[in-house]
Symmetry: C2
Subunit: 290 residues, 2 copies
Amino acid sequence: MTQPVAILAGGGALPLALADALRARGQMVRVLALRGFADRATRRAADARCGLLDPRAVLDTLRGWNPATVTLAGYVNRPGPLALLGAGSAFRNRDIIARLASSGDDGLLRGVVGLLEEQGFAVSGIHDLAPQLLAPAGQIGRVPVSQPDAIDMGLRLLSSLSPFDVGQAAVISGARICAIEGPEGTDAMIARVGKLWGGGRLPRSGHAPVLVKTAKTGQDLRIDMPVIGPRTIRRAAAAGFSGIALGAGHTLILDQAETIAEADRRGMFVVGVNLTPDGLPDVAMAPVGL
Amino acid sequence: MTQPVAILAGGGALPLALADALRARGQMVRVLALRGFADRATRRAADARCGLLDPRAVLDTLRGWNPATVTLAGYVNRPGPLALLGAGSAFRNRDIIARLASSGDDGLLRGVVGLLEEQGFAVSGIHDLAPQLLAPAGQIGRVPVSQPDAIDMGLRLLSSLSPFDVGQAAVISGARICAIEGPEGTDAMIARVGKLWGGGRLPRSGHAPVLVKTAKTGQDLRIDMPVIGPRTIRRAAAAGFSGIALGAGHTLILDQAETIAEADRRGMFVVGVNLTPDGLPDVAMAPVGL
């Protein structure tokens, strides 16, 4: 493509990692950092910076770039009421604001995708643009996978939670659910389980906890694809976890080489599990006995 | 009954509250405090004290009392491996130990109920013995119920989680799930939501959170009936909650007068919602427009 891929960049390291991955394949890239969400490094490296709630500036910038496609990368928490009010009075497009303010993070991001498409932009997912960033199927790294039943239970739990727009991750120990992720995020959930484990609320005798993480069933993978990275491994290892199971093709692994090296070093397994369209473990295609 | 009701007493204020409620109706009561679980006040007031993992002592004590029925009251976290090992070597009944060590709190308590029934004891639930302790249907207290949609969503969520032996409580704000309870318990979950709310991860503009709590669908109500009390109200109010919705007949209200007075004082609604056998809100019998 001679037209660039435009990255609408939220928080975390993903936007720049995606830009690097695309540029490594010779793809031209433009990064639009979303103020209030994008990290400092992203804002510095970006070609432009706009407020998410200043849709006019976002759309004008994108039009100037004439991108082949637009992609959303990085996390975007919901804006507070003051930001919404400010954007409302500045832009006076109550429809857009009302859509952005709709329920849940997904509602917000679906609103952004819908707005971009209405304005004639193609919107792509990271899974289309850089599939090499996705979790593959099968054992990832050197540590053999254990606790297939816990992994199976975790994936079934997440599948059954999907209608509620919550729960892209859970922690299972043996046959017991230790935590279900809410808006606090994966890191905070891991810390919570570490405390339960340390504080005697969970049995030390049992299996060490397993983190299970995948996109919601039926999720539009262009928005809010779940991510793990080296920090996830370090935090899970510190909390006594035995491993991490990911929906193959439905989860991003940030800085894959370093993530796998960390997991190997700390004796944690990482596995990608093929999923059916219902988000259940796909037994027919199951790797490593899952 | 001239035979006593025997209360196997775990942690919290419920065992003595139940004993009081039964004695107020002229019922003879014997309390067996479970060491390591029962509160100090319960241990002091108890007629006997045994380890939960010393089944011989528990059964001998109960046989001596010749109770009309036995009931479990108060929370029982899972014993650590050392307690299990100790009980195993003392009692040498590996079957019982294995059953007690089975997955989840429910597994443990089902094991206790099964063991008691095998030994010829009738086991009753608090809902049978003291239904006046249960949440009634309809508005409880003076604050009008708000956010029926959030309550409905919370009850549907808990119903769909029931197969996984987790989630007797969740917190909803508007159409967004803020937290699902794990082994950390309701108080810790309320504190977590308070932090999210205060830390800007949840929008202040939206509806204040609602706590939704009920027994798991298909739950044996003789074990692990969910409980709220004055402390729940105080903590939820401190975390900015607008109210609490309970499964009518499926949740205990400890110290009901004080709980309602606290809720009224702090402007929080409390409501009991009739549920279908699937744990869904029973529209036909719905109070207050739910």
